[in-house]
Amino acid sequence: MNYFISENIFAYNSGTEHAQARRVRLLSRSTATDAVYVTRNYNRFLARDRKTVGLKSAQVLNMYDYFQGTTSVPRVEQKLRLLKQIPLAAYKIAGHGPNYSTLEENGLTLARIDVMPGTVGLIGSITYQDRFGNLTARENFDWRGFKSSVDYFHPDGQLARTMYLNLAGRPVLEMVCMNRGGQVAPTMWQLLGDHGHHYRFSTEDELFTFFLDELVKQDPQARLFSERRSLDAAVGAAAAAQKWAIFHDAHEVAGQLLAAYRPVLVEHPEQFTGVLVSTKAQQAALNQQFPRVRTAVVPDTVIFPDEATPPVARVPHWLVMVGRLAPEKGPDAALRIFTRVLAAVPDATLELRGYPISANYLNQLKTQAEHLGLAEAVTFSPYVTGPELAQSYRQAQVLIAPSQHEGFGIQLVEALSAGTPVIADDVDFGPREIVVPGVNGDLVQPGDESAAAAKVIKLLTDARLWHALHQGALDAAKQYFAAPVARQWQAFLAGPAGHSTH
């Protein structure tokens, strides 16, 4: 089994989660290998969120679900008013709109019942209070309709403890919050062996390592792939025959090694079989800087051509930038580039598609757009996946990518597969591997906004050029199709991974 290990699948995922999910889909499709998306964090919405990245239940394995024995529970739409635990002869459920109700006795509120987000009347959580109105306990329900955990609170309202339950409602794992360096924070995780042993841990990562060891015990040939630098320590401590760290981003910026990469590259390279990158350029850089670290190149993402959505009409002079709205992705630069474009192409429009890192940062960008006089021409579009995202790519004429660094750049490949030429900053490491100037788009010196604007204007105004690059994009995308990518992965698994005896 190949375990691709991440923190979570979120409601809004970054390219890392999307790339990981696609890889798992790719490898678990093929008969030769099997792959699972492993997550550490407790997430009672996982059964919902995995669908946004196209994963089936059997393709995802969460640590908490594993210990709770709830990995393959089908969803039941549990209406809060039909919840058997609420004694309706004793208490009244008083509705307060679509989001919550209260449990009342003789006119006094006993508890608040929150509706499962995004549903109509399904149970989400029940928050209990004492006779003074103090918070006491909260029962959390899983998306699949069962009670999954109970939070208890200290008298001052801080979280005191979470008990994770099995399907029978029995606590199987507890997390305790007490004094830790002057703060009330988790100090203990304990597995409560039903008939077996108890196991105690001081951090969630210690528990995670124990969990990974359990997986390896069941399959000694299992390979572990750490997809997140925050997990390298936990994965590194596990006892598996093979452990690989997959890099999704540049490990250095302006010649400075990023701290998150130190454990694998500097401190404990011996814990890992090697490092996987998606570009030869990054591999070359690593080989030069860290000769002790073994490296291999495998594709970071994959396009499933059979999942292509019907074409939509291009909107003339429509630009798009796709990705998290975060400073390193350069949305501020995109706005400035677009200002120049708009001066030459007055009916041009720009869509910024993605979730902002904060409401504050989004406001900052909107204010910037206003100051630049772009308010009418710029659209901030929410994070979407699947066909909706495909439509964003397909209706645009150009994708701009002014990132400060990229390990690969999943949005570049997705744009190409939609036939949309790309104008990207030539940063380490992905863009120059994906974008071939004059064939499927163009590259500019990092930060050269005027050059980027000029190339965009040319593309928008030169129909022949656009059609050539459009065709080039479609052709270039083929190398990321499922079949060739699967072949490369299988070659890797049979080669460097298969023969390693680390």
Binding site: P87, A90, Y128, A137, P155, M178, R180, L191, H198, R200
Partner: protein
């Protein structure tokens, strides 16, 4: 079902527990099923109830009930059975403290406290890897974790959780601050057997729910559940507010007024004030004596039925035992069985004996009972001061507590009561059953009914120890009178025979039965014609 409701059942019992146990035996002897119902959590409960002759099958403690732990096979849990979830632990014994310290890598993992046998685990104090005491687990004497006390970062108990013997949390209470910042038990959360979750503001409300559960579990259209409330403060709120009909009984184990001698004292006994002020919320009120029953009826005019039912039962075996004539008893030996406490006023008994001693030097007094530690053993000091003042060191002896009643009472001659107040006084009942000549102040309630002047001894005016001395002297001077009273004592004990007391209970149960059809009709469990 007949339920007798109490707080707990300690190894050292007061009169109320003794009375309840005698009733329990009486009901069992007459084939009337009954349960001792205990309200408080007590990890030693089953040790004590088994010792007291209550089988687990006839015991329902509220916590056991919610913890599914009414009948549990005993397990012997020792240190070796504990699992702290930590590898390579070291154990250090602390013999003086009857506990061990468990450490791992020099860090304290747990303190383990033992029951007095130094083997079975009583409780564990558990520490996280950052040195915080986060949890104390209390074991039931039957060998399972019954109560978890979860600690706050500032080392107080933040909440308590009660578990099933299998380890499932079912009942929780939360310690929280009120608006004045006072930390208190501020809420309860119960998960019932069927998974329903209930919340309660107070333990009173939880108790009410428990009584409703019992009433439902033992529901029988043919006969009502009878709830006898032996300590009214425990469930007086819930018992009068049951969801379904039942037959509820307020049992007065003590005088109903603050001043027992004044049945019309405006101040009621604090313990009964709330229940008596709402007495018609009960079906019946029971006094231990006719005298009190009449006083209660006169004062409260309750619609509730009122009964006099003795709290003591003289076993048939004792009634049939060979009688000991006065001639074979130690002449002048007076005994008293009572706690040496303010309300027992035993210094007055010593004063009476002092007077008797001036004429009859053979007189002696043995006091059997614990000394009440209140006010630095003030009651005992007062007794000792009279002994000293009257130079009775060779005459009066403080014997301490004993269970060897038969041997002592079969050889003594007289029994004295000089109490300030009484609810019944089982001791004087046992004394006459052993043929002791009884002397008592005219004290409410019990002694002045158990002792009958001219029959088994003498009732003298309340507080008049001189009159008591005179009554004793009269008997000591006249061997024929003494033998007459002793025989009368044996005979008068028949009023408290099993059959006699059971007949009193039968009257109550008959009243319960007579009212049952109407209650069922009123609550729409039956149609009028069926009732």
């Amino acid at each position: 079902m007949n339920f007798f409701i109490n707080e707990t059942m300690h190894a050292q019992k007061s009169g109320i527990e003794h009375a309840e146990l005698k009733r329990f035996k009486l009901f069992n002897e007459h084939g009337a099923d009954c349960r001792i119902v205990i309200r408080n959590w007590d990890p030693e409960l089953h040790e004590n109830t088994r010792q007291a002759g209550i089988p687990d099958a006839q015991l329902i403690s509220m916590f056991d009930y919610f913890q599914h732990a009414e009948q549990v096979k005993d397990r012997r849990i020792t240190l070796a059975d504990l699992d702290f979830g930590v590898a390579n632990t070291t154990v250090k014994h602390e013999p003086g403290k009857n506990r061990v310290l468990v450490t791992a890598g020099g860090q304290l993992v747990a303190r383990v406290n033992f029951w007095p046998d130094a083997q079975r685990v009583h409780s564990t104090e558990l520490f996280d890897a950052f040195g915080n005491l986060y949890l104390v687990e209390q074991y039931d004497s039957r060998g399972f974790v019954s109560l978890q006390q979860w600690y706050t970062p500032d080392n107080q108990i933040g909440m308590e959780t009660w578990l099933t013997p299998a380890g499932q949390p079912v009942l929780e209470s939360y310690n929280r601050d009120d608006r004045q910042g006072k930390r208190q038990q501020a809420g309860w959360r119960l998960t019932e057997r069927d998974g329903q979750v209930f919340q309660f503001a107070t333990i009173e409300a939880l108790t009410q729910h428990f009584l409703d559960d019992l009433n439902l579990d033992f529901w029988d259209l043919k006969r009502p559940n009878v709830f006898v409330l032996d300590r009214s403060h425990l469930v007086e709120w819930g018992i009068t507010r049951l969801k379904r009909p039942a037959y509820t009984v307020l049992y007065l184990h003590n005088a109903h007024t603050a001043n027992a001698q004044e049945p019309d004292d405006p101040l009621l006994n604090n313990n009964y004030e709330f229940a008596l002020s709402d007495v018609d919320a009960f079906d019946a009120v029971v006094s231990a004596t006719r005298k009190q029953a009449e006083a209660v009826a006169q004062r409260f005019h309750p619609r509730a039925a009122h009964f006099a039912i003795a709290v003591g039962v003289v076993p048939d075996q004792l009634l049939a035992a060979p009688r000991v004539t006065v001639a074979r008893r130690q002449f002048g030996k007076i005994v008293a069985f009572a706690r040496i406490a303010w309300e027992k006023h035993l210094d007055d008994l010593v004063r009476a004996v002092a007077i008797v001693h001036r004429e009859i030097p053979q007189v002696t007094l043995d006091l059997y009972g614990y000394a009440d530690p209140s006010d630095d053993y003030k009651a005992r000091l007062q007794v000792e001061q009279v002994i000293q003042a009257e130079h009775l060191e060779k005459v009066v002896t403080l014997k301490g507590y004993t269970q060897d009643i038969d041997q002592i009472e079969n050889s003594a001659m007289m029994f004295g009561v000089t109490s300030r107040m009484e609810g019944f006084n089982l001791a004087v009942m046992e004394a006459i059953a052993h043929g002791l000549i009884a002397f008592t102040y005219d004290v409410n309630y019990g002694p002045n009914e158990i002792v009958e002047s001219g029959v088994n001894g003498q009732v003298v005016p309340y507080g008049d120890y001189r009159a008591m001395a005179e009554a004793m002297l009269k008997v000591l001077r006249d061997p024929a009178l003494a033998q007459w009273y002793s025989a009368g004592a044996y005979e008068s004990a028949r009023r408290y025979s099993s059959a006699a007391v059971w007949a009193q209970w039968q009257a109550l149960l008959a009243d319960a039965q007579a009212n049952w059809p109407a209650k069922l009709v009123a609550a729409r469990f039956c149609k009028p014609e069926e009732g």
